[in-house]
Symmetry: C2
Subunit: 390 residues, 2 copies
């Protein structure tokens, strides 16, 4: 194998795939990146795979002779990213003729030799051949991920809750994530661009829906790699065990999470007796200050509605440490109520929104409250109140 | 006590003193900051002290009534830094009349109450009354610290080597730091501005020199707080146990490290048989790449001089992993030699320099080598070569 490529292109592509390199590989070859050079297409592809998440990317190069090999991902990336701008040559044809695992990297500043492992030991990235296919615009996918991922559980024992649940219907895609305390549901409606094309009848019959739970870790990488400005749609291929996202020169594969995802639709109240509209930045800034004291105790912030004055008071009482109180203007309908929340859950939801105003809807101090961004995407953020100690 | 001050000024001053707040305080009050409001001068001072490092800073405020109290440093700083711009009121005169430890902080967005501790429990910051005094320009002090601190030992068991040794003579100040493997010595010569004024005869007789070892931790804070553009000189007060730096509205105190500092002057060779001049950025960039492989093994980089070609080759051989070689132009005098160094030590010295060229002087592959910046401050960086395995 011998090829010439630009230092900055190799650096970028190595950084894409590096996130799928296992930090504690179960087999030594999984610490490596697979490099495949194709003389016919004059392209090089890089792949990394931790047996759950796989990332593949390809880029143009001058391929003098094709071949495959694997190289230590971190070492290669650390060296290449520090090399000066310009062309690099990768060559493993020097030295011993057969089965040479040493690759020579030459650039204008010097020469490096790195020992790799045979490509035959590297596991194939999963492919989905007979599964369903859907096409989604990149910006809708990014928006949905950004507004849901933060609600997934970070607790690995929570299994299906460590993922984001995707439901594709004919009129759009729905993202849902919950850790059991709060729930984010986002509908990205793109009837023109979204299409579900079942290649075969699904188990449940003829309903053309995608309904899978994807590990949040894989989706965070997807969000990081996707370019909102890219014209290309992202293709989703999926079967019962795997999902493959394909776009431009990139490909991300992930196993799916097994198990029944909670039927979250039934948790969301249909009617509300109280409603409160506030400026998002104002309430978020106040909550960030309140949180300093709330963090000292039990994370609880109390919201006290005053419909007469049309204002809401946020307060915290961290006994022995201190207390705090802020009052902000609000448009309030319904009877006054005191209700308490985990301040972190409120803040995380408000940070994921981008609108200037948000609406809080609720019924009682012990039933689910809903926060929604006013006038933007269809996002529903459900938070359970916490008991106020009397 | 009641006072009004600007949010941004209080935030800045809290951040200055916060570095002297103990993260694991041996007494609860050491987690607090001491706040003293003086009605006569209309100033507020803040102090923090971890029993080794002490920082005091003061700023103007509208002091309605003076007083002293201590407040939890991190909590206060976290709240104040998140408050909106504008005036803040601090008041502990509400509530119970006597010995009220709750302070109320009011701003346009809300009201916070924070529980403190009595000022009488807070230890006095050390003062040096009868010691020696010296005045140094801030920029010379910063330069000296920047060029020496990196060589101090991070190993707390190395006692005196965890500090920087300062020697003040009539013609200037000398900084020295060593961890036993390398040594940085910096002379900042400022005959106009530097003055040593012994108030009393020192133990060794009439020699007007300062000769102390100050913990690197305290000096890193000093470097961070000093403003190179400030006109003011920094006053050093010192006796056998303490040093106090005073400038503008700030004051930093530190205990001194006890014990004999190595007689480092005798380690520096007076004559050299070989000399090598290279571009600093070029050799530093090459070493950073070499280090990726050297880090995998024993950190060793080999320098091979070629006086015929006027170039030096840097190489690394990390068996089983890979190898690397870079050749860069150099002005070389003396016979060719192969010599090896710890790549980290070379890099750290080169990063502390600011000149475009550096000079490496040495005699043999087993005697101390000296690196100096060409045409800048008087800095000497001594590195011991390491044995080359044959």
């Amino acid at each position: 194998m011998k090829l010439v490529c630009a230092q900055n292109i190799l650096t970028t592509n190595l950084s894409f795939v590096s996130r799928a390199v296992s930090s504690r590989p179960s087999h030594p070859v999984l610490a490596n990146v697979l490099l495949v050079a194709d003389e016919a297409t004059q392209r090089v592809s890089l792949s990394a795979f931790d047996l759950s998440l796989g990332i593949q990317t390809s880029f143009p190069a001058e391929v003098e002779s094709g071949g495959k090999l694997t190289l230590p991902a971190k070492l290669l990336s650390d060296i290449v990213s520090r090399l000066p701008d310009g062309d690099l040559t990768l060559d493993n044809e020097e030295g011993e003729a057969e089965n040479n695992l040493v690759t020579t990297l030459t650039c204008r500043s010097g020469r490096y030799q790195v020992r790799g492992m045979g490509a035959e030991e590297f596991p194939e990235l999963p492919i989905v051949e007979d599964g369903d296919v859907a096409h989604l615009p990149a910006d809708a996918l990014i928006e949905g991920l950004r507004s849901s991922l933060f609600s997934a559980s970070a607790d690995e024992t929570k299994q299906v809750l460590t993922g984001v649940h995707l439901t594709l219907r004919e009129d759009g895609l729905e993202f849902a994530a919950t850790d059991g305390h709060r729930l984010a549901v986002v509908q990205t409606v793109n009837p023109e661009n979204t299409e579900a094309k079942p290649k075969k009848a699904t188990k449940t019959g003829s309903e053309p829906t995608l309904d899978v739970t994807i590990p949040a870790k894989a989706l965070r990488e997807l969000e990081r790699m996707l370019d909102a400005k890219a014209e290309n749609a992202v293709a989703l291929h999926f079967d019962r065990g795997q999902v493959v996202f394909e776009w431009a020169d990139q490909r991300l594969t992930s196993r799916l999470l097994e198990g029944q995802y909670p039927n979250y639709g039934q948790l969301i109240p249909k009617q509300f007796s109280r409603q409160l509209t506030v400026e998002r930045r104002v309430i978020l800034a106040a909550l960030e200050r309140i949180a300093v004291l709330a963090d000292q105790k039990n994370n609880i912030v109390k919201l006290s509605m005053d419909s007469g004055k049309q204002e809401v008071t946020l307060s915290v009482d961290a006994q022995d440490v201190g207390s705090g109180k802020e009052t902000i203007p609000a448009q309030i309908t319904g009877e006054d109520l005191d209700v308490a929340f985990n301040v972190r859950y409120l803040m995380e939801g408000l940070k994921a929104f981008t609108t200037s105003e948000v609406q809080l809807q609720l019924n009682t101090a012990t039933s689910p409250a809903i926060v929604t961004p006013l006038g933007s995407l269809k996002m529903t953020y459900l938070v359970m109140p916490v008991q106020i100690r009397s």
